[in-house]
């Protein structure tokens, strides 16, 4: 098992005929992801060549899901149309099969479009949204696996550590740290750095807690908002598996947006200091330096009798 995405999950690509969509669809097929086609309105009936094979393109998500019985979709649609693409996918999954996972990679979606899209997804309880502005989700397999997003597949290996993070490259850093102590990953999820997104930390933690394959979790936060504090408080009550944490942005000046739209300390709220304190109060083992995530994880595994 893993969470939400099985190794052989059937995946669609929204925006598959675009430059980004095609590039990453090719990389996903190369990794071993079970891509079953894509959707670009107006280009239905065409095919796209990925790694030497042809993949079908549909005009609508309803059609694409009906034809392929896809489990998930990944969105590489430009920002002005991405909110709509999320809602189209949510409606199609809900109508055709009552469930599905939507992974939105797009960076720069207007916040109020996301407010609308998140509410739309929320009203379709079988549908899960991951992102936007995130690297995606990956469930590594013995060979290949399901890579749904833009992360470098080759740094991962199947294992028992679950990873959840707001940041892209910092997630890769965390993956490399688990590998440095000889541990692989069950599922790695980038929840994205936007102020309004889909799946949050708590849902990821709950799923990891329930997942048999996952035995420990690495959680990476960053400044802005209070999602880390809420997740820590929730974890203290509900988690039995060890968690290792890091928060980026201790040196960020207040009021400045640090790359991610959500990474801003406003009115003294959302500081790294507060988040680290909340982690520690919840019994989460903290690394003050991401290069130490491996050694802190190793210690936590030993303490839990897992090494």
């Amino acid at each position: 098992m893993a969470i939400w995405i099985e190794e052989d999950a059937k995946v669609l690509v929204q925006g598959i005929t675009g430059k980004q969509g095609m590039f990453h669809a090719d990389k996903m097929v190369e990794y071993g992801t079970n891509i079953v086609g894509g959707c670009t309105p107006g280009k239905g009936g065409q095919t796209v060549e990925l790694q030497g094979s042809n993949y079908p393109v549909w005009n609508s998500m309803t059609e694409a899901i009906t034809e392929t019985d896809a489990d998930a979709t990944v969105i590489y649609v430009p920002p002005p149309f991405a909110g709509e693409a999320i809602m189209e996918a949510a409606d199609a999954f809900d109508t055709v099969k009552g469930e599905g996972v939507i992974v939105c990679i797009t960076e720069g979606i207007p916040t109020l479009d996301m407010v609308k899209a998140v509410a739309y997804v929320y009203n379709r309880p079988g549908v899960r949204l991951i992102g936007p502005n995130c690297p995606g989700i990956i469930t590594p397999g013995e060979t290949g696996g399901a890579k749904i997003g833009i992360m470098p597949g080759h740094i991962h290996a199947k294992g028992r550590i679950g990873i959840v993070s707001k940041s892209g490259t910092l997630t890769y850093e965390a993956v490399a740290q688990t590998m440095s102590i000889g541990e692989g990953q069950s599922t790695c999820i980038g929840i994205g750095g936007d102020p309004v997104n889909g799946t949050g930390f708590i849902e990821c933690l709950a799923a990891f807690e329930a997942d048999e394959q996952t035995e420990a979790i690495v959680m990476i936060g960053e400044i802005g908002g209070t999602a880390e504090e809420e997740a820590a408080a929730w974890a203290a009550e509900n988690m039995t598996k060890p968690i290792v944490g890091f928060v980026a942005g201790a040196t960020a000046p207040p009021g400045k947006r640090m790359g991610h739209a959500g990474a801003i300390i406003s009115g003294g709220k959302g500081t790294a200091e507060e988040k680290f304190a909340a982690f520690e109060a919840a019994g989460i083992a903290c690394a003050k330096d991401p290069s130490e995530l491996g050694s802190v994880l190793l210690e936590s595994l030993k303490k839990a009798g897992l090494r």
């Binding site: 002005p80 207007p110 996301m114 890769y172 102020p195 309004v196 942005g249």
Partner: protein
């Protein structure tokens, strides 16, 4: 993206939210004309900068740093007072609790009519990250620092969350007005105002509209006396008029240029320049530099797909800062290949004849090729295997931390 109060009020006025008559001025003469035009017994002379705390701020001479006047917002009772206040404000530096010690040069004034205030409220519309919805927040305690109110008397702050599918509903609007103690004509006036403001917030892709104070006049009218409006930059593509509202003098020139090159840059006060891919990793890099006794000079995210040219631009932007004594490059290659970054680093250091020490940490896609390219170079580039080693090396190379 922030706009000035006078621009925010034009937007409010255009959307049917009551504001007082006022005129935007850039010179003392214009301010005097505005006074004549407004024909009000009393007017407010208001400094226009993108920072709060103007009323309690202090004006200084930009050259001598001599004290000029206390208060960046003044109430004038005569033409002479308008003249002297305008002279004291325009062309001078206003320092407030939000500007930092360097303050901001004031080149814009807003001259606004007075009104008979009976009570001051606080009102804000913003995107609430936790509820993933627009939230409206109001308090009877207007004209004060809302963070203090939230801390000391949280029961005096009333909040409503808006379902994006239904919008602001009449009962929510009415309940909020009643919670603020309004009734009769004033309640009606409040509800009309808030419905207009919510519509403005959504149709203009605002991230925040803060009115402090919102006042009830002696004739039971509800009027926005201040206006702090921010827009969501992600939505710029559907608001062509924002270009005309943007005041580039309020933004850091180098940050604007970085953005044009697809880089995300924020200048800081330290002396170690950072060049990183990814916002989270860029923040973590700064944190680790600090952890090992150094001070980061900047935040710089080159993004997921930077090319050789962008790496070069990034280096030149970092080197514009005279405080930079060394540079740490930290790249975790995903889509971005380490060999391309290595070539970019070499090209940039040669083109810019880099003199400060450079530590490069590469990981991820094609890391071995990248490291080999750097090792073959005759340039003075120090490799590092992980972030901690990179930070320790650069701190040591510049002779320890500190300023």
């Amino acid at each position: 993206m922030n706009i000035h109060e006078y621009q925010g009020k034009e937007l409010l006025r255009a959307n049917g939210v009551p504001v007082l008559d006022g005129v935007h001025c850039k010179t003392v003469e214009e301010a005097l004309d505005a006074y004549d035009l407004l024909n009000s017994k009393v007017v407010a002379v208001k400094s226009q900068i993108h920072a709060g705390g103007r009323g309690k701020g202090t004006l200084y001479n930009p050259n001598t740093r001599d004290h000029v006047m206390d208060g960046g917002v003044k109430i004038a009772f005569s033409r002479d007072e308008v003249k002297s206040y305008s002279e004291n404000i325009l062309g001078n530096i206003l320092v407030t609790i939000q500007t930092g010690d360097e303050g901001k040069l004031v080149s814009n004034l807003y001259i606004e009519s007075g009104c008979d205030i009976e009570h001051e409220f606080y009102l804000a519309l913003l995107v609430d990250r936790e509820n993933k919805a627009v939230m409206i927040m109001a308090s009877t305690e207007g004209g004060m620092n809302i963070e203090d109110v939230a801390h000391e008397t949280p029961e005096l702050i009333h909040k409503i969350t808006i379902d994006p599918n239904s919008g602001l509903m009449g009962f929510q609007n009415r309940d909020l007005g009643i919670a603020l103690g309004l009734s009769g004509k004033a309640l009606k006036s409040f509800m009309k105002m808030l419905a207009s403001m919510y519509h403005m917030f959504v149709s203009n892709d605002c991230t925040m509209v803060e009115i402090n104070p919102l006042v009830k006049t002696k004739s039971d009218e509800i009027v926005a006396l201040d206006a702090k409006v921010s827009f969501d930059e992600n939505a710029e593509f559907r608001h062509k008029n924002w270009d005309t509202l943007r005041d580039l003098s309020e933004e850091e020139d180098v940050e604007v240029r970085a953005k044009e090159s697809g880089l995300s840059y924020v200048k800081l006060d330290g002396n170690i320049g950072c060049l990183v891919n990814g916002a989270g990793l860029a923040m973590a890099t700064m944190d680790v530099i600090k952890l090992y006794g150094g001070e980061p000079a900047n935040f710089l995210d080159v993004g997921g797909g930077a090319n050789e040219e962008q790496v070069k631009t990034a280096f030149s932007i970092i080197l514009e800062d005279p405080n930079v004594k060394g540079i740490l490059v930290n790249i975790f290659g995903g889509i971005m290949r380490c060999d391309i970054i290595a070539r970019g680093v070499i090209a940039a250091t040669e083109a810019l004849s880099l003199e400060v020490p450079l530590v490069v940490r590469l990981a991820g896609t094609n890391v071995d090729e990248g490291k080999a390219i750097l090792a073959k170079s005759t340039l003075n580039i120090h490799p590092a295997d992980d972030l901690a080693e990179g930070a320790q090396k650069i701190v040591a190379l510049i002779g320890g931390g500190g300023q």
